[in-house]
Amino acid sequence: MTETPLPDTLSGLLGLGGFGIAGELLAGILASAIVGTFMLLNTALAGPWAKRKITAAFTDRISVNRIGPAGIGTIVVDAVRLLSKELIIPEDADRPAYDIAPLVLASSALLGFAVIPMGNGIQVADPEIGLAYVFAVASIASLGLVMAGYASNNKYSFLGGLRAVAQNLAYEIPLVLTGASVVIFAGSLRMSEIVAAQSGTLFSLGPISVPAWFAFVNPFAFALFFVANLAEVGRNPFDIPEAPTEIVAGYQTEYSSVYFVLFYLGEFIHIFLGGAIIATLFLGGPAGPVLPGIVWFTIKIWAVFFFTQWARSAVPRVRIDQLIQIGWKGMLVLSFANLVLTAVIVGVIA
């Protein structure tokens, strides 16, 4: 069932097997390049474009439409425009931290994709502890945020960084605990095995057979995870680290030029990474009829992305105190309950 990871396929194709570690590394880099390009196309190009279009649709406006088909070229132009802007570094900024912060944010999000099985054998690696790995690298991002907030030497940035940390902290535990409840079903942390565990059929309604996706097996966990994920990626209603009306632009207040691009990009990759995790954990990964896996996978990610954008336009932002209360008093307790309940049910069935 488990498909061969992409580097192995490549190394087989290109005959790199004989070169030892160097060969493995080369194959890995090639595979990474493929996955990276694919994800960047999604996140850097299609993502911002879709976001603008969706927001415009919600507010009944016309969005980008000048350059390229349906205005998609605008995004490319924007990127070039931003890259050629002057980089203004605020006084007394904590230099190394100020420079590293955007790098951390963007890289950490990309790193998460290493273990996501995208179907058709597109998966960079499939280690035993894939799920733990993906949670781990995804939360490195908050380090980037707090670095940015602190290094900017600006009160608003600092508050934004603090808020980002508080929020990530509050929702990290529900997220991980809910993820753990999935692991109870799958019995493994390996991503491919989690996907494989969802391949059966839950029940059939006449001709339609509902797959055993964990979203259907445990919808409660799915909802919890979805909400926690929204907070993790910092989207509405949980976008208080940026909260332009409260603290300017939060941690990215003092960033311009390429650094701003990196932040912007990093956030988008994060949203997509969140979508990928949800797709893998709850939506059967690349599974789906007729179409190849990679397509289904992309569809699922985009579905999550659409939902995120819908939330951005439809749900008002919570206050910081509400955020903390929802996290610690609501989500955490619910996720504990979910975990225990899942364990009991699984135990009874088994």
């Binding site: 061969t4 990871p5 580097p7 570690i21 493995e24 590394l25 194959a27 890995g28 595979a31 990474s32 390049a33 996955v35 960047l40 890259l83 050629s84 002057e86 605020p90 007394d92 955007p102 790098l103 963007a106 890289s107 990309l110 790193l111 994709f113 960079v124 690696a125 030497n153 600006n154 009160k155 608003y156 940035s157 940390v165 508080a166 902290l169 509050a170 990290e172 535990i173 991980v176 753990a180 692991v183 109870i184 019995g187 942390l189 300017v248 030029s257 390429v258 990196l262 910081i320 903390i324 209360q325 610690w328 307790v333 504990f336 975990l339 225990v340 009991v344 699984v346 135990g347 088994a350």
Partner: protein, 135 residues
């Protein structure tokens, strides 16, 4: 199968190279117009008052401490979830589940205590409290 971590290392390399490449491109493209006043930190156009070293709400700290404790507990929960299915068949549900229930129970007592003692109560306004009582 090859060592997955080499591939992950390769991806890490790529994940760093891409942003760095962007930075390099930008460094080649962008102008540089030094001017002192634009380096002032942004405070809605006013003269900045103070820097990043401000007194912030102690609750941030409380939340961080709570997190440290609870996050580490999830590390201990994960191995249990992985083997839970097998454990139930092997030693029965009682022995697989009850220890973890005890563990989570203790955590919940801790959470309840923190909750009641205001570790996660963000807004504390003595004045508002007073008014509430007076009315």
């Amino acid at each position: 199968m090859s060592n997955p971590w080499i591939a992950i290392g390769a991806l890490a390399l790529v994940a760093v190279i891409i942003p760095v490449a962007m930075m390099v491109v930008s460094a080649l493209l962008r102008p540089r117009v030094p001017e002192l006043s634009k380096r002032a930190t942004y405070e809605s156009g006013e003269v900045p008052t103070g820097d990043t070293r401000i007194r912030f709400n102690i609750q941030y700290y409380m939340v961080a401490l709570l997190f440290v404790v609870f996050d580490i507990e999830t590390v201990l929960i994960f191995p249990w979830t992985v083997i839970y299915n097998d454990a139930v068949t092997e030693v029965g549900m009682m022995r697989a589940l009850v220890p973890m229930l005890v563990f989570i129970g203790i955590l919940v007592v801790g959470l309840g205590w923190a909750w009641r003692n205001g570790a996660v109560r963000w807004v504390r306004s003595p004045r508002a409290q007073r008014q509430k009582v007076e009315r």
